[in-house]
Symmetry: C2
Subunit: 397 residues, 2 copies
C-alpha cells in the first residue's frame, strides 16, 4: 500500500458530511440527494469499501467518480505504467508518463478528495503471488471504518472489474466466487464503439464462467477486428459512458436507490442500450460457483419468509399512516398531456413513455414574462384563482 | 482570449497525427479507428472548431474529451468561478478554487494536449454585451486551420450547449438560428438522476423555441424538486454519462460515422434511454427559426436531386464491383444462436437483438487451452476440416 501526493495545494479533510448550501462545502450537491428524496442516507457512503481492478480508461474514471462522491475506502489494482498512448482517455496526465498507474491514480485522487482512504496495489492478479495478495487484500477489513455493512467474509462491499482481457476477468470471477463477493464487470469493444456493464452475485446470477461473455455488436465487420497485430482503438467518450453507467449502478447498489441493471449494453453507433438478466448455469465449470448456487437454493425458504414479513410490515404501515390525506378539495396535479394542444401539434407530437415537458411552450413563457406574471405552470385547464381560494379555505379550517 | 499553463511538464506539440503503434504516440488508439473501419479519415478532426457554452459538470468533461481526441480548436464560454462545491463532479481540482472556470479549464486542457487551439471567453452570453462578443466569436474563422469544412456563415463547426438554465439555452438557440449553426443541447435534471442530449439543425429540426423542452422523468415526486431555495443535487456519474453521449454524437456528426441521435434521454434509476425526433414548428415564436424553415423548404428540390444522384452513383458502383464474390462454396458465417445448445440453456437463454457472444463457452475455452488448439470459434455445427478443404480448393482454382 502506497500513498502519494503531487504536492500542490489541497483542501483539508472534512470530519462529517454537511448538507449546508455554501460554495465551500464539497458535499452540498451530494447531500442534496437526500433532500430530494433520491437517497435515504447519503452519508453511509463513507462506510463502504470498493475495490477497482484495472486502472485504465474505465477504471481510472470509475475511481475518480467514487472519490468525488466521497466513498470511504478505495482499493486500486494494476501493474501497468502510464504512457502517452493512454492520453486519448480521461484521467491520466502527460506529466504522469512512466509512473505506475496505481501510484499516479492515488496521487491525483488524494489531491481531489483527501477524505477517501486509498490503497494502491501494483500487482498482476493473474500471477500466483499476485492472486494471493489480491485475495488477502479483499478479505482485510478496515478498522477505521464502521464495518457493520459487510456481513460476509470479505472486507469490501463491492469489486469492480475494469480489466481489458478474458483471463483477468476469470481471475476476478474466481476470487469473488470464493469470497461470496458481489462484483460488477465492465468492458469496451476493441473497435471502441460499444461496451457493457454486468452485475454478478455469486449463486444468484450467472457467474463469468456460467456462459460465454456477451458483447454489444457494433455492426462493423468483425473480421477487421480480429486481424493479428492490430492495436485496439479507444475513445474517451465510450469509456466515460461505461465508467459512468458502472459507478451509477455501484451507487444504486450501495446506497439502495433505483434499480441496479443486471446487464446493460451500449452501442454508440446507434445509441442502443440492450439489457437482460442471466441466471446461473447448474453445469458451470467453476466449482466455487456451484457451491454458491447450492447455498442460494438452500437459503430460499428463509429468503421467502423474510420477503413476506417485509411486505406485510409495509402493508400495515400503509394502512396505519396514509401518505396523503383525503383530497376533499379536489385539488389535482396538472396533466401534462393537456398542455399545448392548440398550435404545437407538429413540433410536440406524441411523447414516448418516460418523457415529460420541463416548461410550458415558449409562447406562454414569453407571455408570462411580458405580463410580469409568475404562473409559468398555468394552462387553460388550470384555474389559479380557484386553487388559491381552495388553499385559503384549507388554511383557515 | 486567454491561455494559461500550470507550469508542470508537458508533452511537446505533434505536427501530424501518426498511426504508429508505440507507447509514445498519443494518437495511436484514435488513428486505429480508421484501420478498424469505424472512421474514414480520423485526422480530419484537426480541421474542426467546436464551441462549448457552459464549463460546468457536463461542459468541462465534454471539453476534456474533445481535447484528448485532438480536436482542432475549442472555444470555451463561462462566467463562473471554480468552487469547492463543484468538486463532486469530474474535471476541476481543489487547487483551482477561485479561478475563472474558463481559465482553469484552459490551463488543464493545454497541459493535456498542447495541439488543441484553445480560446477561453469569460463572459455571460445572456447580457447584451456578452451576446455580441459570443456572436462575433462564433463567426470568426481561424486562419491557421483549413476552413473548407465550414460552408455557412459561422466560423465553428458545432456549438455545444452545456448550460444549466432555460434563459441561456434560449440565447444559444437565438445565436444558432441567426448563424444557421447546427448545435447540440444537453441537460441534467435537478435531482441529478436523469439527463438528455438533443441535436438542433436550424430549419430542419425543431429549434429550442419550437416546443417546450423535454426532460426525462425520474419518477420521483416533482413537488420535492420545485421547492423554493432547494439547492440542486448533482452526480459525477450522470454528468459523465451525458457528456460522453454528447461528445460521442458530436464525433459521429463531425467525422461522419454511425447515426447521430436527434434526441436521447437517460433515466439512471431504471437505465432507460428514450429517443425521439422533433420536426420544426411552423408557428414557432422565433423569427430566425421561421426564416431557416422557409429556406429549408425552398432547398428541397435541390436536396432531392442530390440524394437521387448519390443513390444512383452508389448503385452503379455496386453493380460494377460487387463487395463479395458469388458464394459458390456455400461457406457461411457461424450462426451464434446455434452455439451452446447442449447444457447452457439456463444461463444463455435467448439473446436480445444486438448482442453476440464474445467467446465460446468457458468449457470450450479451457478445452481448447488444454489441447493447445486455437480453434476457439469452433462449435459442433462448424466443420473446420471441411472449411479448410473448401478454402484450399478456392485458392487452387
Amino acid at each position: 500500500m502506497r500513498l502519494a501526493s503531487s504536492g500542490t495545494s489541497r483542501r483539508s479533510k472534512v470530519k462529517d458530511m454537511s448538507a449546508e448550501v455554501v460554495d465551500s462545502n464539497p458535499y452540498s450537491r451530494l447531500m442534496a440527494l437526500q433532500r430530494m428524496g433520491i437517497v435515504e442516507n447519503y452519508e453511509r457512503i463513507r462506510d463502504f469499501s470498493v475495490a477497482i481492478v484495472g486502472i485504465g480508461g474505465v477504471g481510472s474514471v470509475a475511481a475518480e467518480m467514487l472519490t468525488r462522491c466521497g466513498i470511504g475506502r478505495l482499493l486500486l489494482y494494476d501493474y501497468d505504467t502510464v504512457e502517452l498512448a493512454n492520453m486519448n482517455r480521461l484521467f491520466f496526465r502527460p506529466d504522469q508518463v512512466g509512473m505506475m498507474k496505481t501510484d499516479a491514480a492515488a496521487q491525483t485522487l488524494t489531491d481531489i478528495n483527501p477524505d477517501v482512504i486509498l490503497e494502491s496495489y501494483s500487482l498482476n492478479i493473474t500471477t500466483v503471488k499476485g492472486y494471493e495478495v489480491f485475495l488477502e487484500s479483499l478479505k482485510r477489513k478496515n478498522s477505521k471504518q464502521d464495518r457493520q455493512s459487510s456481513a460476509g467474509t470479505a472486507g469490501v462491499d463491492l469489486v469492480l472489474s475494469c480489466v481489458d482481457n478474458y483471463e483477468a476477468r476469470m481471475v476476478v470471477n474466481q476470487a469473488c466466487n470464493e469470497l461470496k463477493q458481489t462484483w460488477m464487470e465492465s468492458g469496451v469493444s476493441e473497435d471502441a464503439v460499444s461496451g457493457h456493464i454486468q452485475l454478478l452475485i455469486p449463486g444468484e446470477t450467472a457467474c463469468f464462467a456460467c456462459a460465454p461473455p456477451l458483447v454489444v455488436a457494433s455492426g462493423i465487420d468483425e473480421r477487421t477486428l480480429k486481424r493479428e497485430g492490430v492495436c485496439a482503438a479507444s475513445l474517451p467518450t465510450t469509456m466515460g459512458v461505461v465508467a459512468g453507467l458502472l459507478i451509477q449502478n455501484a451507487l444504486k447498489f450501495l446506497l439502495k436507490f433505483g434499480q441496479v441493471s443486471p446487464y446493460l449494453g451500449y452501442n454508440s453507433l446507434k445509441d442502443y442500450f440492450p439489457s437482460m438478466e442471466m441466471r446461473p448455469n447448474p453445469q458451470c465449470s467453476n466449482s466455487a460457483c456451484l457451491e454458491r448456487q447450492k447455498e442460494y437454493l438452500q437459503a430460499k425458504p428463509a429468503r421467502d419468509a423474510l420477503a413476506k414479513e417485509k411486505m406485510e410490515a409495509e402493508a400495515s404501515l400503509r394502512s396505519e399512516c396514509p401518505l396523503h390525506v383525503d383530497n376533499e378539495w379536489n385539488i389535482s396535479v396538472v396533466d401534462d398531456s393537456e398542455e399545448g394542444t392548440s398550435n404545437h401539434i407538429e413540433a410536440s407530437g406524441t411523447l414516448p413513455d418516460g418523457l415529460t415537458r420541463e416548461l410550458p411552450t415558449a409562447d406562454k413563457y414569453e407571455e408570462a414574462l411580458a405580463t410580469g406574471g409568475t404562473n409559468l405552470v398555468a394552462n387553460d385547464d388550470f384555474d389559479l384563482v380557484e386553487l388559491q381560494r381552495q388553499l385559503d379555505a384549507l388554511n383557515a379550517s
